[in-house]
């Protein structure tokens, strides 16, 4: 634990010097502790006092920092995530206000940014079960549907988001996502007949995509903050890309994000319809229920392959972790869900 304490002390000193420059007034870190979660990203809760200047006062912040070593092919850099968060905030999305970003690894060892710390619970199991959140759960489908409509309305060019990855012109976004998962699965070599059956079906049933939008990429219970007042904010903007809006509409329906409350398709808190209807009303975009079903299946495949790939990071020594190791045996749950769907007449 001594190492961890030294880490906190060093973080505190370096952050104070960075903020004193960035905020234009002497900054003091009052409190800093690591937050749970994030296999690939590190998050800290940080309280800061800035003595003078335009941003004088106390700030409750979250610091997001890259973890050493791991580079994810599909995720944004901290600088890019910061730019996306800015665009979301400008578009009125309930998201933490982004404050300072630093791409220079000399400052804290790795790139990081600081954003406002919002109240609320992020842990999926608690959001689904906590009696104090009964009223908030009733509001969630509508609130999340409306927030998603705002995210999908972000114009990339206006906000300098041209770096966002997306499907090549005239290509089908679903088939692109599917090809990535299929390639990742087959690269591993381990045979998975259930996943092969799913890939085969998905290859021949891909829906047409009418328009691509800015897709959040990990929009679900577990990545939102919920308090007794309702939805406080949307988190985890590192997988934003251009794609089919149905990708975001189906992801929160995937069984893995129902946190044990499997009977309620929308994140274990509600049926899917109130969420889809709220989104359709707010966005003015027709929601194709068949495309939602398709993307939910594709979501199960992606998360199955995601679990296997995460376990590989442990197995190949890239990041020894019992949590990553455990995911290798989790893939069977998504395989079961896929097989159930494929077995329906």
């Amino acid at each position: 634990m001594l190492g961890a304490m030294a880490d906190v002390e060093s973080l505190r000193r370096r952050l104070e010097s960075f903020l004193t420059d960035a905020a234009g007034g002497p900054a003091r870190v009052l409190e800093a502790h690591p937050l749970a979660g994030g296999a690939s990203r590190e998050a800290w809760s940080v309280d800061v006092e800035i003595a003078s200047g335009p941003q004088a006062g106390r700030h409750a912040l979250v610091l997001r920092r890259d973890l050493g070593g791991t580079i994810h092919r599909d995720s944004l850099s901290r600088e890019q995530e910061f730019a996306v968060l800015r665009a979301a905030h400008a578009g009125g999305v309930r998201a933490p206000r982004p404050l300072w970003c630093c791409a220079d690894p000399a400052v804290l060892g790795r790139p990081f940014f600081l954003m406002e710390r919002l109240p609320g619970e992020a842990v999926g199991r608690r959001i689904v079960k906590d009696p104090a959140l009964v009223a908030a759960r009733a509001e969630l489908p509508g609130a999340m549907g409306r927030e998603l409509a705002k995210i999908h309305a972000i114009a990339p060019a206006t906000h300098g988001l041209d770096f966002l990855p997306g499907p090549a012109a005239a290509s089908n976004p679903a088939l692109g996502v599917l090809a990535q998962s299929a390639a990742a699965l087959r690269e591993r070599g381990e045979p998975h007949p259930a996943l092969e059956l799913a890939i085969r079906w998905l290859e021949s049933h891909a829906p047409q995509c009418a328009e691509t939008v800015v897709v959040h990429g990990d929009f679900r219970i577990g990545n939102v903050l919920v308090s007794p007042r309702g939805l406080e904010g949307i988190l985890d903007w590192e997988f934003v890309h251009r794609g089919d809006p149905h990708e975001d509409l189906a992801w929160p329906l995937v069984r893995a994000w129902r946190f044990g409350n499997d009977g309620l398709r929308f994140g274990g808190v509600a049926e899917a319809e109130p969420f889809l209807e709220a989104y359709a009303a707010a966005s003015g975009r027709a929601v194709d229920r068949q495309a939602v079903d398709y993307w939910e299946l594709l979501g199960n495949l992606r998360w199955a392959v995601g679990c296997l790939s995460q376990a590989d990071r442990h197995l190949n020594g890239e990041e020894p972790s019992v949590e990553l190791a455990s995911l290798g045996r989790k893939a069977a749950e998504m395989e079961w869900e896929l097989l159930e769907r494929l077995s329906r007449p």
Partner: protein, 133 residues
Amino acid sequence: MHDRPTALELIAAARGHLEREVLPALADPRLRFRTLVAAHVLAVAERELARGEEPLRAEWARLQALLGRADGPPATAAELGAAVRACEEELCRRIRAGEADGGSFRAAVLHHVRESLLEKLRVASPGFTDARG
């Protein structure tokens, strides 16, 4: 022959230690979570060991029938594992080639995969296949 405790009993002892003595003493939420996961993976290993070799033998026999093969039964556990893997690879190739797109082979494949998944989940997530709401 090893003395008791058996491998299964040793793992169970380690899991009991994590659950009864380590977890109550942990305040750091990240460490608590990882320790819960550690206890969970030990429970998975215990269930797998308790099932023994029989499920893999059954999977091998199912694959022989499904793929129309008549291989001699593997003698050792290592040979059995390799034989099942080779059959599963052949099955995957045939699915990719479209052979399981319809008809009686599809029905047989769905049935086989279902049996295999029931066994995987019995070990990895007991109760998952009957959980509904």
